[in-house]
């Protein structure tokens, strides 16, 4: 029972009043940073590192602060997704799909509190996972080579097909546009600059933040302009602020499944919270019965991505702590912070400085609990955003969005790019194309092409590498299940209809 003993030490570290206060401040700052469109955990963490130094915080306290900010951001990101249809950061994109419809139905309070609860469950599942399986999972993360990543992307794209609904052609076009956009910029496997048209601003490709904010924020601003013109009022939050037991029970299974999915994908470096939330959403949608209201304000559609992205955020700590390899952009920054503290993460860290590792893990638990305690009463405050008059809200959103985009490259090129993408996004939206399909295509496309070509480079062009490992085969199996599931379900429905018809005749 070494683990319990160490966890005890960890809680001993994390539960000192000073560290508790730090965790509290961290979660608060994180929530605010996550709430602002364009600023995500990377900014939040990068912002606090110099402050932690200036205050002379000891390393474990600094790490606790950073972990709290990270989780806080994941919580905060959903707020603007739900209330304004603008994702606060990348991993909150899927939350807009059902969160915003819920808010428009006047259920903003329920949506916010339920998503906070889902984040809590996700975070807790993942933290338990970190405690129990961290070293084991390091092996899992390492086992994922280029070929395995490629198959994983194929799986994610099969999940994407679930978004198609009644307009398969338009969804396919949207996804392919996204896939294509991921080709822009330098091609790592050959060093060729593709579709940059000589612009250095595009040399690294289109930045994710620019794409998200262009597609969602700018197009939303334009849509709001139309609505104001037609005298429509913005959404109001009415009714309950808290979800009830029935709603909680309804999404519990979703929470548990998505938490595991999110954690497992979060552990893989590079895949990250965005992919986790997308896969969780899609697979829940596929699994749901035919009368689901996914995309129209289904509570499960809100719970799945929220649970998954919190779980993934915790999961991405695993490669950082066990291998000294960043699992996400944010953990890359945290790793940088550790370097400044002269701590070398990796397998030795668990042996040499257990107080730091276990203090961090314990603080993940504590930050999660704090966030849920803090978020529930704050739902009322957040929904106040909706009562700000449009004429004040929109310029503020536009300016915050611009800052978020400017902060990526510190050049105005991205602002123009964002506006350009925004206009395209607005047109696509008017024509009823799915913007989230564009976005997911973008995320998956880059990783898919890169890893396919990486795998082929390593295998000397042999395709066999793509199904050469047990993991790859298992993921191919999942792909088959994902394809077969709707077919089987359709067949079942027809069967039962036939029997129903037969029954009624009898």
């Amino acid at each position: 029972m070494d683990t319990l003993h160490y966890l005890g030490i960890g809680f001993g570290v994390a539960l000192t009043p000073y560290n508790l206060l730090t965790a509290f401040c961290g979660t608060l700052i994180g929530t605010v940073v996550g709430l602002l469109p364009g600023l995500g955990p990377v900014n939040g963490v990068a912002l606090l590192i110099p402050i932690a130094f200036a205050l002379g915080l000891p390393p474990e306290t600094a790490l606790i602060l950073l972990a709290a900010v990270y989780l806080g951001c994941e919580y905060g990101g959903r707020i603007s997704s739900i209330l304004l249809n603008i994702p606060g950061e990348a991993s909150a994109v899927m939350t807009t799909l059902d969160g915003y419809p819920l808010a428009r139905q006047g259920k903003a309070g329920v949506a916010l509190s339920l998503s906070a609860w889902s984040s809590f469950i996700g975070g807790t599942i993942a933290t338990v996972g970190v405690v129990l399986f961290a070293p084991l999972l390091a092996q899992w993360a390492v086992a994922f080579g280029p070929a395995e990543y490629f198959v994983l992307m194929v799986f994610a794209i099969t999940c994407l097909a679930g978004m198609a609904d009644n307009k398969p052609m338009k969804t396919a076009i949207a996804a392919m546009i996204g896939l294509f956009l991921s080709c822009v910029g330098i091609d790592a496997n050959s060093g060729v600059y593709r579709f940059t048209f000589g612009s250095l601003g595009l040399a690294d490709g289109i930045q994710f933040v620019v794409l998200v904010l262009g597609l969602f924020s700018v197009s939303e601003i334009l849509v709001l302009l139309e609505r104001t013109h037609h005298g429509q009022k913005a959404v109001k939050a009415s009714g309950r602020m808290l979800f009830n037991v029935k709603e909680g029970a309804f999404v519990l299974a979703t929470n548990l499944r998505s938490g595991v999915v999110g954690f497992v994908l979060g552990v893989l470096p590079g895949a990250g919270a965005t992919l986790a939330s997308a896969v969780a959403y899609m697979s829940e949608k596929r699994m749901a019965r035919h009368d689901n209201r996914f995309g129209d304000g289904d509570l499960r559609g809100l719970a799945a991505p929220e649970t998954a992205n919190s779980a993934a955020a915790c999961g991405s700590m695993v490669p950082m702590l066990t291998l000294g390899v960043p699992g996400s952009g944010t953990t890359a920054v945290m790793l940088g912070a550790l370097t400044l503290y002269n701590i070398t993460p990796g397998p030795m860290l668990f042996q040499n400085q257990p107080d730091i590792v276990w203090g961090l893990i314990a603080s993940l638990f504590i930050a999660n609990i704090m966030l849920i305690i803090m978020n529930v009463p704050m739902v009322r405050v957040f929904t106040r955003i909706l009562s700000v008059p449009t004429w004040a809200l929109v310029p503020a959103i536009a300016i915050i969005t611009s800052i978020g985009v400017y902060a990526v490259h510190s050049t105005t090129f991205d602002l123009f790019l964002m506006i350009g993408i925004g206009i395209c996004g607005y047109i696509l939206r008017k024509l009823d194309y799915s913007l989230s399909a564009v976005l997911l295509g973008f995320i998956l496309g880059g990783m898919m092409e890169e890893n396919l070509r990486r795998a082929l480079s390593l295998s000397n062009g042999e395709l066999g590498i793509l199904w050469g490992s047990p993991i790859a085969l298992a993921v191919w199996g999942l792909v088959a299940v994902m394809i077969a599931l709707p077919i089987w379900r359709a067949w079942r429905t027809r069967q039962s209809r036939n029997t129903a018809v037969a029954d009624s005749r009898a």
Binding site: I186, L200, D204, V325, G336, L340, R454
Partner: protein
Amino acid sequence: MNSTRLSTCLSIACAMLLASASALGKEPSRPECIAPTKPGGGFDLTCKLAQAGLKDHKLLDAPMRVTYMPGGIGAVAYNAIAANRRGEAGTIVAFSGASLLNLALGKYGRYDENAVQWLTTIGTDYGTLAVREDSPFKSLDDVVQALKKDPKSVSVGGGGSIGGQGWVKIALLAKAAGVNPRDLRYAAFEGGAEHYMALMGKHVDLVTGSASEIRAQKANKIRTLAIFSEERLPGELADIPTAREQGYEIQWPLIRGYFVGPDVTPEAVAWWRDRFATLQASPEFQQYLADRDVLPLTVTGEDLDALVKQQVAQYRELGREFGLVE
């Protein structure tokens, strides 16, 4: 004991002398360090070193801020400084040998190495080759023999895109082995440490890395076969043989430092150089660098200018040789 105390005294005296000399110049307003990448990683660290070092040694009154300006491994930042922010005295930009390589290969657009003022270097790094501990390759020679027999028999991973500095290291090895770099089996991984993960997961047999990563990766059961430096490195890294002593003349140093805009006044440039000279003279700072896996190196003024030009010319030659530029 006595000698260390003496050297401390000396350096403090030097520092005071320098500080009094620099009292003539005025501190530029809004000091800022631009890291031309996303947060995290080497450039970020370079900026953080300046930020923390200058602050701890009370060489800078106003807090220095770190701005991230990623894009084309420094291309965006280089152009911003060379074109728009030419005269900002308070702004220094972190660069590394990787930036110089890109500059030499013409990836920075219309600007060349004369478009900015090179301020100072702070440290250096060297290319390495690493394998898993259980690898059959025990020395650089084993790898070279294997490559000679069949260039496709070894799968290699590196960070960054083909034509970047991760790749050049393996191209240099191929050259030393008398193999065409095109005949290798190579995969480009995202920067950071993804290629090390691929190595741990047995997806590749060999990776190219740098000396600053050795300590962090050691615990992952990774062995460094050779270091591409002139001589063995000091301290913990002294056990690692150079490529040179194993009979292959491969050197790949990567300097790290800062530059400022072309129109920054000579006084401001002198002020910065002076501050960095004071900082680098401090033994605590040298220790600080060493603890963070940075090998201290101070080249400044005209020497740096000459060094940069020499390196760029050398990289350009290399690029021509490998067919990366016309």
